[in-house]
């Protein structure tokens, strides 16, 4: 099949996606959008792992991505449960409003 994509291009895309995710996590206030940005950062890392796996000719990158996807599923379940509990408690999921533990 096609295996002719240079690693540097894959890493460029991965870095761009990770930076977009960082921007979202730092600049948004809606907890769900921050969480989505974190998912995006994980996917950027997955892309880098698969790119390195293809460039090196090993399967370990894909195995790691498999585990990342499984852990992301666990993280999404717990994180969204936290948001549901937070929303019940404070009627908002704006992270600026949730400052109960701040002081």
């Amino acid at each position: 099949m096609i295996g002719a994509i240079p690693l540097s291009d894959v890493l460029l895309v991965s870095g761009a996606l990770f930076s977009i995710g960082i921007a979202g996590a730092l600049l948004r206030r809606n907890a769900i959008q921050i969480f989505l940005s974190i998912e995006l950062m994980m996917n950027a890392a997955n892309l880098a792992l698969i790119g390195y796996g293809a460039a090196l000719g090993t399967r370990e990158g894909q195995i790691v991505v498999f585990f990342v996807i499984a852990i992301a599923a666990a993280e999404a379940a717990v994180g969204l449960a936290i948001f549901v509990a937070l929303f019940r408690h404070t009627e908002t999921i704006d992270v600026n409003e949730s400052n109960l533990l701040k002081w």
């Binding site: 769900i32 894909q62 996807i69």
Partner: protein, 172 residues
Amino acid sequence: MTAGRLIFDLAAAAAIVFSGLMVVGRNPVRSVLSLVVAFFALAVCFVLLLAPFIAALQVIVYAGAILVLFLFVLMLLNVGREVPDKNVRPIQRVLGSAAVLVFAGLLLGMFRHSGSHVPAAADPVDPAMLGDPAALARLLYSDYLLHFEAVSVLLLAALVGAFVLARREHAS
């Protein structure tokens, strides 16, 4: 430029554009849907990088299950669009943007140099067999069995944790 290269470039551009829309948009439902499109584009990239099994997982688990869970919770909580907040000081936005720019510059600069020289693996797999699900499964259930079991325990713990966290408390 080969066809695969062209498709990779298009898919990567789509992934970047739709993730940008995800971050910029104020409507959370639209953000989730943009991210679904971006993850589909990433799955296309994974296929072109010789990982078709991971691409299938990406579509089924990430776009299909995780993001639908996000949509479900968004609809359940009925979260509206983000309103501009007067409490946010401009300095926060400026410092946040500056941090993002510095980080992006560092990351891309680092990747630009690390992508050019890749050390050769000891015994590279035949590229056509790299994403073979049977070979991946054999590796997963032999060398990575312990990790696999640990992840299954983690998923169980997350299941119980999510249940406990989201449960309605009758006592209070």
